[in-house]
């Protein structure tokens, strides 16, 4: 038995939330990223953006406060914080593409040590692909963080020298959070920021398809 434990999805979301400072405008992608908002304390004023025309998005409503006219881009019911606003889709993506968001956290299938990210298709001939807003976010937000499982269920590497899946954007990823570690993507490749307690660097390296430097 290893003497370390990977983070759960919830713990991973909470770990990312810890790194988001007050005052940032943030878009959260589909999947684990969406959970992150639950771990940003209400009194820390982080302004969440949703592609379908919302700035100042709040958490899921209580059943009696559910508003059928208000969902996020993952089609989940949400609320609007005091100070929030609505706008149309082209303005919403102008906020994204114009570099007005401090951060976008995307889920990913693969991230490479050169910052390339692949998160919309697992092969070139996917029958019904789903790009959504990922390419706009990846190209437009001031910072891109990726949240992902460290390896595939079959044990294949997802943190790589170069991505093998179709790319979402080239060279944009700045930080990667997995259930095992936090890595910065630098000009020298992956640099270790944090890892789960008890996990050896050798063990982590063995599960990673590119070199990890520890500062």
């Amino acid at each position: 038995m290893p003497n370390w434990k990977p983070l759960t999805r919830e713990e991973l979301a909470a770990r990312v939330a810890r790194d988001i400072p007050e005052g940032w405008s943030v878009n959260l992608g589909i999947g684990i990223p969406t959970l992150i908002a639950n771990y940003v304390p209400h009194e820390r004023e982080v302004i969440f953006h949703s592609e379908n025309g919302i700035v100042g998005m709040g958490p899921a409503p209580t059943p009696e406060k559910l508003d059928p006219w208000l969902v996020n881009a993952s089609r989940q019911h949400v609320t609007l914080r005091t100070g929030g606003s609505y706008f149309h889709h082209a303005d919403s993506f102008a906020l994204v593409r114009g570099g007005h968001l401090d951060l976008c956290v995307l889920g990913a299938f693969q991230v490479a040590e050169n910052g390339d990210i692949a998160n919309w298709a697992r092969s070139d001939d996917e029958a019904a692909p789903a790009i959504g807003g990922a390419m706009d976010l990846a190209a437009g937000a001031r910072r891109i963080w990726a949240v992902m499982e460290h390896s595939t269920r079959g044990g294949e590497h997802r943190l790589l020298h170069r991505c093998t899946y179709p790319l979402t954007a080239k060279g944009v990823t700045r930080r990667v959070f997995t259930e095992l570690c936090v890595l910065d993507v630098t000009e020298r490749g992956f640099v270790l920021i944090d890892k789960v307690e008890g996990l050896g660097l050798d063990e982590l390296q063995a599960r990673t398809g590119a070199a990890i430097r520890s500062v």
Binding site: E51, N52, G53, I54, L66, D67, P68, W69, L70, V71, R75, Q76, H77, L80, Y86, F87, H88, H89, A90, S92, F93, A94, V96, R97, A121, D124, A127, A128, P129, A130, I131, G132, G133, A134, M135, D136, L137, A139, G140, P166, L167, T168, A169, K170
Partner: protein, 243 residues
């Protein structure tokens, strides 16, 4: 397009009144082969009565521009399932229960153009603003860039994207007056104002009818000159999503 058509006799003067009496009348004249822009996001602000009306109306060989390829077996999905759409332009071809699209696509009976969602919104905005094409970094170096002109601008690789000019836009508003001034409700705004400006013929179903002058000018999102036909459809709230 229809300033003249929209003016009706009222005593001895003309007044602008874009309201028609039925969905069928609103959709009159949509031709085979038309490029149809369909508003809505996650069924909110989706002009369902107009989509259902278009299924009845019969136009075929349509190009449909919508955020998704439809969901379940209703709305845009049903239009596709009925074999009336020869091309879909969308950012999500796969969404929960997009079964009809996948069946038709597997048969090779529909062409799919995948567009990043922000590029889709901007291509529509560009059409409405008279910008025929623009360069953007979104999609540069990806599959989306294949076959497109690329250029390095201000040190960044960009690709050329063309405006999407619609023949028809089908949209939903929360409130409308007879000039076609529109107000939207919460997340029901989404693609609707952008599509209203991007089409030759903009047809709007509205949940509520306002008297001219009743909508506060500062709150009007789409000015009436972008809207050609209005039909009152008190569709009620969009379906609640159970996840």
């Amino acid at each position: 397009m229809s300033g003249e058509n929209a003016a009706r006799h009222c005593g001895d003067t003309h007044m602008i009144d874009k309201f028609v009496r039925s969905v069928a009348e609103a959709l009159d004249g949509i031709k085979d082969g038309a490029i149809v822009l369909v508003g809505g996001f996650a069924q909110i602000g989706e002009p369902r009565a107009l989509i259902d009306g278009l299924i009845e109306q019969g136009a075929k060989n349509l190009t449909v521009v919508h955020n998704t390829a439809g969901r379940g077996r209703e709305g845009v999905a049903r239009l596709i399932g009925e074999g009336r759409v020869s091309k879909i332009v969308c950012s999500f071809a796969r969404s929960r229960g997009s079964v009809l699209f996948e069946e038709v696509y597997a048969r090779g009976a529909i062409e799919l153009e995948m567009v990043p969602q922000g590029t889709l919104a901007e291509r529509l905005r560009a059409a409405g603003a008279g910008v025929p094409a623009f360069f953007t970094p979104t999609g540069a170096g990806t599959k989306i860039a294949e076959g497109k002109e690329s250029r390095v601008i201000a040190g960044r690789e960009c690709i050329l994207e063309h405006a999407i000019f619609g023949d028809v836009a089908l949209i939903e508003a929360w409130r409308a007056d007879r000039w076609g001034n529109l107000v939207y409700r919460e997340a029901g705004r989404n693609f609707n104002p952008v599509m209203a400006m991007a089409a030759q013929l903009t047809i709007c179903q509205t949940q509520h009818v306002a008297e001219l002058g009743e909508l506060a000018p500062e709150t009007i999102v789409t000015p009436g000159i972008c809207v050609d036909r209005l039909v009152h459809v008190a569709a009620g709230d969009p379906p609640v999503v159970i996840s």
